[in-house]
């Protein structure tokens, strides 16, 4: 719920603060508080980039860890630059109920406020910063899903388009005041606009790239390729959980009046309980289904709860937030093997968490927010999904048939760390080539062998 929403759903609440705009001192305070909220909450959202980085670094095999680290930090760099070059204006400048904003570099204009007119509500750069950090999150979703096989620079090229074009265009439809917002589509902090956008882009990427070699056996077997560092993945989840308070809490978009502060309190409490519900539900599900609790499912469950509540964290009661998150946690446990059955290889569970629960969360809003309708929510989900699937397919395919998107089999077997960036993530530790954890089960080995025999390149 960006920009436009602050004039819509939260409209009434904002009014008192705008009213104060007349009496100088108070409205200056509101201006400061709104600005400070954007900055602090934006910093928390930026921190989520680190969370994604650690989660993904923990869930890939050790031979791809350095590469995924590099991807995660550099995509955040790309997000910042692209959102300055074109993203922000495409998303927010002159959308006017339409389908797209305008092109052009973004620049801060705080002349009015500096001249004592605080009706703008907040500093321009604080708003830019807060919107920009959201854009990085969508890329992070993609990186985890297509990990361990995609080429570094092709991935970064995709991020450029995602941040510069795809994300802002669809974002303009709802948060930029475009056609979806006019219809009344509600997505408070981005279950659809951020998470399922990342999810759709990741889905097309995963399909076009194909699964990691050896992941799926000929007989339909799924060969696990266990993540190399569970505490790192746990840390990443904690970071994401923490950052999410800013993601949702900052999306109140104001702190200058009591109503906004109250809303922020409710949003943060609900966000927290949805995560709790998602995690506990996922843990119980996985215990019941498999008799053991897979830690990574618990982590995914917490994230599932967070994604689920993100479309509407202000309206549910705490109990409803637990339920909304809990359903997310159940969905994720069911979705992970489902995607595997479809042979869509999602390394970290990004599709189950961000796409599936992003849709669920968006569709769940009308349960607690009477101002929304299932119909409109569905239109938003489908429209944005269709746009992102088409647009990112085009980009992935163009990349595939020009520079190529997939590391060759030999490189994939050796790991992207050696082949793409020429270094190891853990050079001092002996890694296992025998038995469990190698992620190279027998039929995989067979496949690699074949390739090795026909591809007389550098070898192992």
């Amino acid at each position: 719920m960006k920009k436009i929403m602050s004039l819509m759903a939260a409209g009434l609440m904002i009014l008192p603060s705008l009213a104060f705009a007349e009496d100088a001192p108070v409205s200056e305070m509101s201006f400061i508080l709104n600005t400070f909220s954007f900055l602090i909450m934006g910093i928390l959202v930026m921190w989520m980039a680190a969370g994604f980085g650690m989660l993904e670094a923990g869930l890939v095999r050790s031979k791809n860890v350095a590469t995924i680290c590099l991807k995660n930090i550099s995509l955040f760099g790309i997000a910042g630059i692209l959102f300055y070059l074109m993203g922000y204006n495409l998303m927010y400048a002159g959308v006017d109920g339409g389908f797209i904003g305008s092109f052009g570099l973004w620049g801060a204009d705080d002349a009015a406020a500096l001249a004592g007119d605080y009706s703008g509500g907040y500093s321009a750069a604080s708003d830019w910063f807060f919107q920009m950090v959201f854009c990085g999150a969508a890329c992070s979703v993609v990186s985890g899903c297509v990990a361990e096989r995609i080429k570094l620079w092709s991935f970064l090229a995709f991020c450029v388009v995602l941040c510069g074009v795809i994300y802002p265009i669809q974002g303009s439809w709802a948060w930029g005041g475009g056609w979806l917002s006019e219809m009344g589509f509600a997505d408070y902090a981005g279950s659809t606009l951020v998470h399922s956008v990342g999810g759709w882009a990741a889905l097309t990427g995963a399909i076009i790239l194909g699964a990691r070699k050896g992941k799926y056996g000929k007989d339909g077997r799924v060969n696990p390729m266990p993540g190399s560092n569970i505490p790192l993945a746990t840390l990443g989840t904690f970071i994401l959980w923490m950052g999410w308070y800013g993601f949702n809490g900052g999306s109140v978009l104001a702190l200058g009046d009591a109503a906004s502060a109250i809303e922020m309190g409710n949003v943060i409490a609900n966000t927290n309980l949805a995560a709790c519900g998602g995690m506990i539900a996922a843990m119980i599900m996985v215990q019941v289904l498999y008799r053991k609790v897979d830690v990574t499912m618990g982590l995914n469950g917490a994230l599932a709860g967070l994604v689920s509540i993100t479309a509407g964290p202000a309206t549910p009661s705490l109990g409803a937030a637990i339920l909304i998150g809990g359903v997310g946690g159940v969905l994720v446990v069911l979705a992970v093997p489902l995607f595997d059955k479809l042979k869509i290889d999602d390394v970290v569970g990004a599709l189950s968490v961000h796409l599936v629960c992003g849709i669920w969360g968006t569709m769940a809003v009308p349960f607690t927010d009477s101002g929304t309708s299932f119909m409109v929510q569905g239109i938003g989900v489908v429209a944005i999904g269709a746009f992102v699937v088409i647009a990112s397919s085009v980009v992935w395919l163009v990349l595939k048939f020009t520079v190529g998107i997939r590391a060759n089999e030999e490189d994939e077997y050796r790991g992207l760390d050696l082949s793409e960036i020429g270094m190891e993530a853990y050079p001092d530790f002996q890694t296992i080539h025998i038995g469990g954890g190698s992620g190279m089960p027998s039929n995989a080995a067979a496949q690699v062998m074949t390739s090795a025999a026909t591809n007389p390149a550098k070898q192992h």
Partner: protein, 112 residues
């Protein structure tokens, strides 16, 4: 009895294991080693300096078998572990005088 040591490429381990179990071998001991040979290692880059890693990860399989099994095991491993490219590894055969199963104290070929 003979000990057969096979130094192979790591990704061949599962295939070799399968072919050995097909031959009726039901015990072996495996370890991670690093090989130096004709196959050259990869170059790594770190902070502006490039360097060669000479030693290449290999897997060593050790198995002790009755003397009459040697020929078939060697042949099977050689075939299965072969990719035809440099660095496929070696098989060495050496004499073993005695073997004991710790659990039961049995010795000789019964213990294998």
């Amino acid at each position: 009895m003979r000990k057969i040591e096979c130094i192979i490429k790591p990704f061949k381990l599962d295939d070799v294991k399968s072919v050995l179990t097909d031959l009726g071998i039901n015990g072996m001991t495996v370890s991670e080693v690093r090989g130096f040979g004709r196959q050259k290692g990869h170059a790594e880059l770190y902070r502006g300096a490039e360097y060669q890693v000479d030693f290449i990860p290999k897997v060593k399989i050790e198995l002790v078998v009755a003397a009459d099994m040697v020929a078939s095991v060697v042949e099977a491993v050689q075939k299965e572990a072969c990719t035809g490219r440099i660095g496929d590894g070696k098989i060495f055969v050496s004499p073993v005088e005695q073997a004991v199963r710790i659990r039961t104290g049995e010795s000789g070929e019964d213990s294998l």
